[in-house]
């Protein structure tokens, strides 16, 4: 093909070490821009996903639960845990004015699960009243969840039809849910009857100190959506004033801590991208300057055989674009592979929800990062290319460095 015979391509092919070094620099630039952008957008996506999945205006938990740090650990980080209050709370909460949708949930921390020395959070919900878990579950599993059937989060290495054993009771995996990038991925979901059977089994085995709770008469938390015409604060205060032994928490305020932490990490990552970007552009500018100095004679010869100044500029710029595009594509591919492969590690190290953008968003970020890197490479070379196009052929060929 003629393009492979063209001078810019041949120049690159005939100097593999120089080309490889420039490709490596471009790859590094593109890698840092894309990896940083993916981390930032992954964190933002994770926060959005967490907001959607929490999906309720108010969460009501036993008063003791809010005095321990366990609540945010359980709700936001998915640390396995449990707390219970009497089921009669649900009726009392229903009568509070402004309470719209209301649904109870049940928490149970597994002892070591069948394969690993690792605890799993088991969340029970009532499919008839639930409005937070069901919409997300229905994307993967449309049937009704039967007794002794469970749904597993995407981070759990179990698949449809597998059997899991908790406290001596065997449950069957009905489906594996979509990835959310949040604590919900590490949990197991069961209906009310199943989780009560498991709580009874755990109580019988005396693995946790359940005290005198009756598994049939308990709930762990109550999720509430406020009716139109009422403010969340109004209903929250009403519950905290009039329903004894419980604490109503605004889910938005719980997320604000995560949002604050996320903002810090995003700022730091953004600053790092800018620093790396500036450094690489400086290094590339110096590299192109040195290379153009070294190639003065080569371009002087081209001028002698009739190449115009414009032609010289075009050759050098085409070489730069070619090398930058190759390097940027390689760097982008590496960034996608590494960030996707290590997303679980990033999530657990940052202790923040992390969800890589879906294919459309990922494609857009990738194209933008490659474009930015190619533009930066071209910008770094443009001054050197301009200098080369202005060389005095006679002076250069006489050996005077001119």
């Amino acid at each position: 093909m003629p393009i492979f015979k063209s001078i810019p391509v041949q120049n690159c092919v005939r100097r593999p070490v120089r080309t490889a070094a420039l490709i490596l620099l471009s790859a590094f630039l593109s890698f840092s821009v894309l990896a940083g952008s993916l981390v930032i957008s992954g964190l933002r996506n994770g926060l959005n996903s967490l907001e959607t999945r929490l999906g309720a205006d108010i969460m009501v938990v036993p008063y003791e639960a809010t005095t321990k740090a366990a609540l945010s650990g359980l709700i936001l980080q998915g640390n396995p845990g449990y707390f219970y209050m009497n089921k009669s709370v649900v009726d009392r909460l229903s009568s509070v004015s402004g309470v719209g949708q209301i649904s109870e949930q049940f928490f149970l921390a597994s002892s070591t699960a069948s394969c690993c020395s690792y605890k799993v959070q088991i969340i029970g919900f009532d499919p008839e009243t639930d409005f937070t878990i069901s919409p997300w579950v229905q994307r993967t599993y449309e049937d009704e969840l039967g007794d002794m059937q469970v749904l597993v989060g995407s981070s759990i290495n179990a698949f449809k039809g597998d059997e899991l054993t908790f406290y001596g009771s065997t449950v069957q995996v009905a489906a594996r849910l979509d990835n959310t990038g949040t604590y919900l991925d590490t949990a197991v979901y069961a209906n009310e009857d199943t989780i009560k059977t498991l709580i009874s089994a755990a109580k019988e085995k005396k693995i946790f100190n359940f005290g005198d709770v009756d598994p049939q008469q308990i709930v762990s938390c109550v999720l509430i959506n406020v009716d139109d015409g009422y403010s969340v604060e109004e209903v929250l205060n009403d519950i905290n004033l009039h329903v004894k032994g419980v604490q109503a928490v605004q889910t938005q305020s719980m997320i604000s801590d995560v949002a604050g932490k996320l903002s810090g990490v995003s700022d730091m990552t953004g600053s790092l991208i800018v620093v790396v970007w500036l450094l690489v552009i400086m290094i590339m500018s110096v590299a192109f300057f040195l290379i153009s100095n070294e190639r003065k004679k080569e371009f002087a010869v081209l001028r002698m055989v009739g190449a115009s100044r414009k032609k010289l500029l075009s050759i050098l710029m085409k070489e730069t674009v070619l090398v930058s595009a190759l390097g940027s594509a390689a760097g982008a591919a590496l960034a996608i592979v590494l960030v996707s492969a290590f997303s679980n590690l990033i999530e657990s190290m940052l202790d923040l929800p992390f969800l890589i953008p879906e294919i459309g968003g990922l494609g857009l970020i990738t194209v933008c990062s490659i474009a930015v890197s190619v533009a930066a490479g071209t910008l770094s070379a443009s001054l050197s290319a301009y200098r080369i196009s202005r060389i005095d052929t006679a002076v250069v060929l006489r050996g005077d460095n001119g």
């Binding site: 593999p16 070490v17 394969c115 690993c116 179990a158 590490t186």
Partner: protein, 137 residues
Amino acid sequence: MKSNYFASKLLSILLLALSAFLTLGTQFVFHACDAGADGSHMVCHWAQQGTIGAAGVLVLLHIFHLLTRDARSRAAFLIAGLPVTVLAMILPGGLIPLCMMADMRCQAVMRPAVLTVGGLILVLTVIALVLNFKRER
């Protein structure tokens, strides 16, 4: 061609370094989950041992590749390395299951690291084969 020879040697050294990194890294850097309090290992430990074994064979093949001058023998060592690399990559999580939770070390660190280093080895092996083929011609 001198530059082709240089690139080919550089690739041989890189391949050897990467396969050594795969072997030692799986043992010491991106190893599987630690043993439990009672000293018993989870299933991911055996996936780690299998990967180290396969990566060890890869180191030997890449040493032979580096030391051999004959182009056809070099190609043979490179081609032999391809299925061994794939084996090392599919052992953790593919042929031998890993632990239950995605945020456990074997799933969050060992598997992606083995896949990444293995993937790099595959890409470099293909490039080395192309260069080898060009040199032979």
